[in-house]
C-alpha cells in the first residue's frame, strides 16, 4: 500500500470511528453512516474531484453558515437538545470536510471533528460499548497523526510555505512530493511496528493518567453527568389481571458477589425486594406504602437492623445494575448493610466513625429496605443476612401464629370476596394438617401438582386466582404465590407475598452471580412464632426460572459482563475515594515492605516459605506463586526481546550484503565499531582493514589475515580450517580485550 493510500484509509477509518461512536450511543441511526461512506467513495472517483474543485469556497462557506443558523434556530426557537444540535452540525462539517479536504490543515480539522464526536459520545452514554470506539481511536489516531506529520512536514520543506499558501497541496505536482506519496517504502513494516508500539504506549499512559489525575467535581455544568439506561425487569406492582406472553429478558439486574469459598444452597439464592399484604381481587398492594417507613440511619457507613448474631451471617456484596427502583435487595433476612465492608469492624466493635458515609436506608413496615431519597448513585453495598433454617419438626411444634399475638394477624388474613368453592378447597386442603407448617406444605403441594408453569398467561377473567385454581391452571410465579398465599389465608394461616429475585448465572470470570431480569420472582412468607416470617416458594421448578442455568454463548456473555463490571467499577465509577484507597494501600504496602527489609523479616519469611514448600505444605503457595510470576515475567521479557530482534528482519529490513557475510566478519565489524571505527559506505573490506591497520599497527597483520579469509569464505566458497579459525578467534578476543 502506498503512502497516500494508507493516509486516506486511516483518515476514513478515524472518521467512521467518530461517527460510529455516536451510533453505538444510540444517538445516530447506523443508516446515517451511509452518508460519510458515500462521500468517501465519491472522493476516490476522479471526476468527482474535478466537480468538487470547481465549487467555489465562498459557496461552501455560505451553505455552512446557513446550516449553522438553522441549528442555532432549532435550539433557540424549538428548544431542541443542545447536544443533539451540536452532533448534527459536527456530522455535517465532517462530511463537508471529507468532500473538500485539500490542504493539510483540513485533515487536522477532520481529526478534531472525529475527536469531538468521541467527546459527544461521553455525554450520551457510559455504556461499555464506549470502549470499542475509544480503543479504535487509540489505535488509529497515532497512525493518522504520524502520516499527517510526515506529509505536512514534507510538503512544508519541499514546497515551502508560500506555495502551500497560494495553492492547494493536492494540486501541486512536485516530483519529490509525488515520489514520497507514491512510495511503499516509507510505510513499511517497521512503521507499522513502531506505530503499534506507540498505540500500546499511548493506552498504558492514558490509563496511568486516568487513575492518577485528581478527581475534583466542581459541578458547574453537570448536565449529562447523570445517565440513565435503566430498564427494569423488577416491578413494584403485582397485577394478576394482565395476560399474554411475557418475554424473557437477559438484561442484567444486579451482580451478587458471595464470600469466596462459600457454597450456596438454593434457598440462599433469594433476594427479597417488596412485601405485599393487601389483595383486592386482582392486584396485590401494600397497606403501609409510605406512612410507616422509618429511616434507620443517615450518618454511618454501616446500618444495623437487628442485634448482631455471632456467626451464621451470610455476607454478600451486591451491585445493582439497570434497576429503576429505590428497593434495596438482600437475602432475607438482612441484619446489616455496609457501604464499606472494611469499616464494619471499626464501627461496630471499636465505635469509631466511618471514614466515608453511604446513603441512608429506610425500612418500611414490612422490613423491606429502600434507599432514602430515591435511586442512589452509590449502588454497591454489602449485606449481612441471617437465614433461619428451622427443621420441619421444630416448625410443627410451633403454636399457631394466629394465636401468638406477635403480629397484626388480621392484616395478613385479609381476603377479598371469593366463591364458596375456593373456601371449600382451602378447608379440604388443611383438614388433616396438625400445624401451620403442614398446612403450608399441603397447600403448596396442591398448587404445584394441579397447576402448570407458563409465561404465556391466558386471560383469567375477573377473579384470576379462582380462574387459575379451577379453570385455567396455567400461570407464572405470581399466580402460584398468590393462589398459595390466599388459600393459606383462607385456612387461617398469616401469609404475604414477596417480590424480588431468585437464582442467577454464575460468572466464572468474575466469580459472581449475574442476576437478570428474567430472574425476577414472587414467593410467599408465612409467619411462625419465634422464627418470624419464613419464605416458601410454591412455584414449581422450571428451566426458565431460578438456579444456575446454561445459556447460549454463556462463556462469551459472561466474559462481556465481566468486562462490563470492570468498566463500571474501575472506569465509570472511579472516584477520589478509590484514588485515596489505592494510594493508602500502596503507601502501607511500601511501609510494611520497608519495615520487613529493615528488620530482616523478609528473609525469614522467604526461608519459611521455602521450608514449607519443601515440606509440601500449602502455606508455601504464596512464595511459589511469586517465584512462578517472576519466572514467567522473565520468560515473557526474553521472548519479547527475541521477537523484537526478529521483527525487523521479517517486517522491514531486507537482507543486505552484510547479513550474508560470514559470522566472524560481522563480529569483527561489531568489535571495531565499538572502538570507534566504522566502515564507510563505498569502502571495501580491504580498504577498511588497511585504514584500521594504520591506526592499530599491533593488529594490522591479524586484521589482514582475517580479511583475507573473509574474501576466501565469501567469494571463494572456501571454509576455514582449524588453524585459521583459532587465529581469527584469538584476534577477535584480543580486539575485545583492547576494547574493554
Amino acid at each position: 500500500m502506498t503512502f497516500v493510500q494508507l493516509f486516506r484509509l486511516s483518515n476514513y477509518s478515524l472518521i467512521l470511528v467518530g461517527m460510529g461512536s455516536l451510533c453505538l450511543a444510540r444517538f445516530l441511526h447506523p443508516v446515517v453512516l451511509i452518508v460519510p461512506v458515500a462521500a468517501m467513495v465519491f472522493m476516490e472517483y476522479p471526476p468527482t474531484l474535478r466537480v468538487l474543485s470547481s465549487i467555489s469556497r465562498h459557496m461552501v462557506n455560505a451553505v455552512s453558515t446557513i446550516v449553522f443558523l438553522c441549528v442555532i434556530a432549532d435550539y433557540v426557537m424549538f428548544g431542541r437538545d443542545l447536544i443533539a444540535d451540536v452532533v448534527v452540525f459536527t456530522v455535517y462539517l465532517q462530511v463537508l470536510k471529507i468532500l473538500t479536504a485539500r490542504r493539510n490543515r483540513d485533515y487536522f480539522q477532520i481529526y478534531t471533528l472525529a475527536l469531538s464526536h468521541l467527546i459527544l459520545t461521553t455525554m450520551l452514554t457510559i455504556a461499555t460499548v464506549f470502549l470499542v470506539p475509544f480503543l479504535l481511536f487509540i489505535v488509529l489516531a497515532p497512525w493518522c497523526l504520524t502520516l499527517y506529520t510526515l506529509k505536512a512536514r514534507m510538503e512544508d520543506a519541499y514546497l515551502g510555505p508560500e506555495k502551500l499558501r497560494l495553492k492547494q497541496s493536492a494540486d501541486i505536482q512536485d516530483e519529490r512530493v509525488v515520489r514520497v506519496l507514491r512510495s511503499r517504502d516509507v510505510v513499511g513494516g517497521r512503521l507499522f511496528v513502531v506505530t503499534a508500539v506507540l498505540s500500546l504506549a499511548l493506552l498504558a499512559h492514558t490509563l496511568g493518567i486516568f487513575f492518577l489525575f485528581p478527581r475534583v467535581s466542581l459541578g458547574f455544568m453537570t448536565r449529562g453527568s447523570q445517565h440513565g439506561d435503566a430498564v427494569s425487569g423488577f416491578s413494584e406492582q403485582v397485577d394478576l389481571s394482565s395476560f399474554g406472553e411475557i418475554k424473557n429478558s437477559d438484561a442484567l439486574a444486579m451482580r451478587v458477589f458471595p464470600e469466596p469459598g462459600v457454597t450456596y444452597d438454593s434457598d440462599l439464592l433469594y433476594w427479597r425486594g417488596l412485601i405485599f399484604d393487601l389483595y383486592d381481587g386482582s392486584e396485590w398492594m401494600r397497606r403501609h406504602e409510605k406512612s410507616k417507613r422509618s429511616i434507620v440511619s443517615r450518618v454511618t457507613g454501616v446500618v444495623r437492623f437487628a442485634p448482631r448474631r455471632d456467626g451464621g451471617l451470610i455476607k454478600q456484596r451486591i451491585q445493582l445494575e439497570h434497576l429503576d427502583t429505590d428497593v434495596v435487595f438482600a437475602t432475607p433476612r438482612a441484619e446489616m448493610i455496609a457501604w464499606r465492608p472494611e469499616q464494619v469492624e471499626q464501627v461496630l466493635q471499636r465505635g469509631l466513625s466511618p471514614s466515608s458515609f453511604g446513603p441512608a436506608i429506610a425500612v418500611d413496615a414490612y422490613g423491606g429496605m429502600h434507599f432514602d431519597g430515591g435511586m442512589e448513585t452509590e449502588r454497591t453495598y454489602t449485606t449481612y443476612s441471617y437465614v433461619p433454617r428451622p427443621s420441619p419438626v421444630e416448625l410443627r411444634t410451633m403454636p399457631r401464629s394466629a394465636d401468638s399475638g406477635e403480629i397484626e394477624v388480621d392484616a395478613y388474613l385479609q381476603l377479598p370476596e371469593f366463591s364458596e368453592r375456593f373456601h371449600s378447597l382451602a378447608r379440604s386442603l388443611v383438614a388433616d394438617a396438625g400445624s401451620d407448617y403442614d398446612r403450608v406444605q399441603s397447600v403448596m403441594q396442591h398448587v404445584m401438582s394441579q397447576c402448570d408453569y407458563t409465561l404465556d398467561v391466558p386471560r383469567q377473567g375477573s377473579n384470576p386466582v379462582e380462574s387459575f385454581l379451577f379453570e385455567k391452571p396455567f400461570g407464572h410465579c405470581e399466580y402460584f404465590a398468590s393462589a398459595t398465599a390466599l388459600l393459606l389465608r383462607a385456612a387461617g394461616v398469616p401469609a404475604r407475598l414477596v417480590s424480588g429475585f431468585r437464582g442467577g448465572d454464575w460468572n466464572r470470570y468474575g466469580n459472581y452471580i449475574s442476576v437478570r431480569e428474567r430472574h425476577a420472582h414472587t414467593w410467599i412468607e408465612v409467619y411462625f412464632p419465634s422464627y418470624g416470617w419464613l419464605s416458601f416458594d410454591p412455584t414449581p421448578p422450571d428451566a426458565s426460572a431460578g438456579g444456575f442455568r446454561a445459556v447460549r454463548f454463556e462463556g462469551l456473555r459472561h466474559f462481556y459482563e465481566w468486562i462490563e463490571l470492570r468498566w463500571y467499577n474501575h472506569i465509570v465509577n472511579y472516584t477520589v475515594e478509590d484514588q485515596q484507597r489505592i494510594a493508602g494501600g500502596l503507601l502501607s504496602h511500601i511501609r510494611s515492605m520497608r519495615a520487613q527489609v529493615r528488620s530482616g523479616e523478609w528473609i525469614h519469611r522467604w526461608r519459611n516459605a521455602l521450608d514449607r514448600r519443601r515440606g509440601g505444605s500449602r502455606a508455601g503457595k504464596p512464595a511459589g506463586l511469586l517465584v512462578a510470576v517472576a519466572g514467567g515475567l522473565i520468560v515473557v521479557g526474553a521472548l519479547c526481546v527475541l521477537a523484537f530482534r526478529a521483527l525487523p528482519r521479517k517486517l522491514g529490513r531486507k537482507r543486505g550484503a552484510i547479513d550474508r557475510a560470514p559470522l566472524f566478519y560481522r563480529r569483527f565489524l561489531s568489535k571495531v565499531q565499538r572502538r570507534g571505527y566504522r566502515r564507510q559506505p563505498g569502502e571495501t573490506p580491504r580498504e577498511f582493514a588497511v585504514r584500521i591497520g594504520g591506526q592499530l599497527p599491533e593488529f594490522a597483520a591479524d586484521i589482514d589475515f582475517l580479511i583475507s579469509n573473509y574474501y576466501l569464505c565469501r567469494y571463494g566458497l572456501g571454509r576455514l580450517g582449524d588453524t585459521e579459525s583459532r587465529r581469527i578467534a584469538q584476534t577477535l578476543q584480543k580486539l575485545s580485550k583492547r576494547a574493554s
Binding site: 461521553t122 512536514r153 520543506a157 496511568g208 478527581r215 453537570t222 522491514g652
Partner: protein, 363 residues
C-alpha cells in the same frame, strides 16, 4: 583538504522546543477536556483527557528519540568560490540499532553573508542506514568564513511539538574570489594565447625550418614541395614547445575600498585576476603573482590554491603595500599582465604586455 568532522547528535543537544500550530490547538483541546472533566466528574471525559495528554507526552519523548543517535557527515567541495553555488554533500547516518528516524528537517543557518536554500526534509532514515542530500550554499564575499551549519528539527510522530538541535560544522574555510567568465574572455585576450615561441628545434607543432634528410629521419616528415624545388630529400623541422611564464600584477589602492563603487571595482579586479590565474594554470602556464609590485612567493604543486587564498584575503587580514614602480617588475617573464583598479593615468602602461582595468577594457 580537511573535511569537517562527523557530528553525532543526541537528545542532550536539544536547544529549543517549539509548539506547532496544531500543537496549540491540541493543547487547548486537552485543557478544555480537563476542565470539562473536573467540572462534570464524567470519568469518560477524564479518559479522553488522559489520551490527549499522553499524546503530548509521547510526542515529546519520541521526537527526542527520533533526533538521538544521528550522525552527520559533510563533504565540502575542494574550493569554495564567492558568488557561486557551492555544493555540500550531507549524509545523515542513523546509529540506532532498532528505531528509524522519521521526518527530519534541516534548515540551513544564516551566517554572515552566506545564503542557502530553504530547507531539506528527510522522510526516513532506517536504523543503521544513511540518507543524503546536496546542500548548496552561496557566499557573497571572498575571504575567511565559517561554513554555516544547520538547525535539525523533528516533530515526529504527531507534529505537535518540534525539537531543535543546532549542528555547527565548526569549520573555517577560505572562500576564493568569484571566477568571472567575462573576465576570462578579457584575460584570454590579454594572455597572448599561442604567442610564445622557444626559438629552438624540437618536437612541437610549430614549423621551425627545412633541412636535408639524413639517415634515420622519419620518412613521414619529408617536405615534398622542397624536394621538388631542390631536387634532394628535404625534411621538415618543428620548434620545441615552451611553457610560457606569465606574471600577473594586481594594482590596487592600499587600504580597504571606500564606498560601494570602489568595492565593486576591487572585487571585479580581483575576480578577473583569479579567473585568469585559474585559466592560465589549467593551460599549463607558469604563473607568478605580484600585488602592487610585491611578489607573492609560492612553492609546491598547490600554488594555485596558494595564489587564490592570497587573493581571497590580501586586503582583509593585513595591510598591503602601496603600488610600486612598474620598473621593478621582472622582465624574464614571457608576458607581464597588469590588472588595475586604479585609473588609467595612475598606471605606467609601458611596463606591461597587457593591462586590464577594472572597467574591463584592456589597455
Amino acid at each position: 583538504m580537511r573535511q569537517p568532522r562527523a557530528i553525532e547528535v543526541s537528545g542532550r543537544n536539544i536547544r529549543s522546543i517549539r509548539i506547532s500550530r496544531a500543537g496549540w490547538v491540541f493543547i487547548l483541546l486537552t485543557l478544555g477536556l480537563g476542565i470539562g472533566g473536573l467540572n462534570s466528574g464524567n470519568n469518560l471525559i477524564y479518559l479522553l483527557f488522559g489520551m490527549l495528554l499522553s499524546m503530548l507526552v509521547i510526542n515529546a519523548i519520541l521526537s527526542r528519540s527520533s533526533l538521538a543517535g544521528l550522525e552527520f557527515s559533510f563533504r565540502l567541495p575542494q574550493r569554495l568560490y564567492a558568488q557561486t553555488e557551492n555544493r555540500i554533500h550531507v549524509e545523515v547516518h542513523n546509529r540506532k540499532k532498532r528505531l528509524p528516524s522519521y521526518a527530519l528537517t534541516l534548515i540551513p543557518q544564516k551566517v554572515g553573508h552566506a545564503s542557502s536554500s530553504e530547507g531539506y526534509f528527510v522522510v526516513k532514515v532506517p536504523p543503521g542506514g544513511t540518507a543524503g542530500f546536496v546542500h548548496s550554499v552561496r557566499f557573497e564575499h571572498r575571504g575567511r568564513v565559517a561554513v554555516p551549519g544547520f538547525m535539525l528539527s523533528a516533530s515526529y510522530p504527531f507534529g505537535l511539538i518540534e525539537k531543535f538541535i543546532p549542528i555547527h560544522l565548526d569549520c573555517e574555510r577560505i572562500v576564493y574570489p568569484q571566477l568571472d567568465e567575462s573576465a576570462l574572455e578579457i584575460g584570454a585576450a590579454a594572455s597572448r594565447d599561442g604567442d610564445f615561441l622557444s626559438g629552438h628545434r624540437g618536437h612541437g607543432v610549430n614549423p621551425y625550418g627545412v633541412r636535408e634528410y639524413v639517415y634515420g629521419d622519419d620518412m613521414r616528415r619529408i617536405h615534398w614541395p622542397s624536394v621538388a624545388k631542390v631536387g634532394a630529400w628535404m625534411i621538415r623541422e618543428f620548434e620545441r614547445e615552451k611553457t610560457p611564464r606569465i606574471l600577473f600584477n594586481l594594482i590596487v589602492d592600499p587600504g580597504p575600498p571606500a564606498g560601494t563603487e570602489a568595492l565593486g571595482k576591487r572585487e571585479r579586479t580581483v575576480s578577473a585576476l583569479a579567473t585568469m590565474l585559474v585559466h592560465s594554470i589549467r593551460k599549463n602556464r607558469e604563473v607568478g603573482l605580484m600585488i602592487n609590485g610585491s611578489p607573492v612567493e609560492s612553492s609546491g604543486s598547490g600554488y594555485l590554491d596558494f595564489y587564490l587564498t592570497v587573493l581571497a584575503v590580501f586586503d582583509q587580514e593585513q595591510p598591503h603595500a602601496a603600488p610600486r614602480s612598474a620598473g621593478r617588475l621582472s622582465r624574464v617573464e614571457d608576458a607581464v599582465i597588469g590588472l588595475s583598479e586604479l585609473p588609467r593615468e595612475r598606471v605606467d602602461a609601458s611596463m606591461y604586455d597587457r593591462l586590464v582595468f577594472a572597467d574591463g577594457a584592456p589597455a
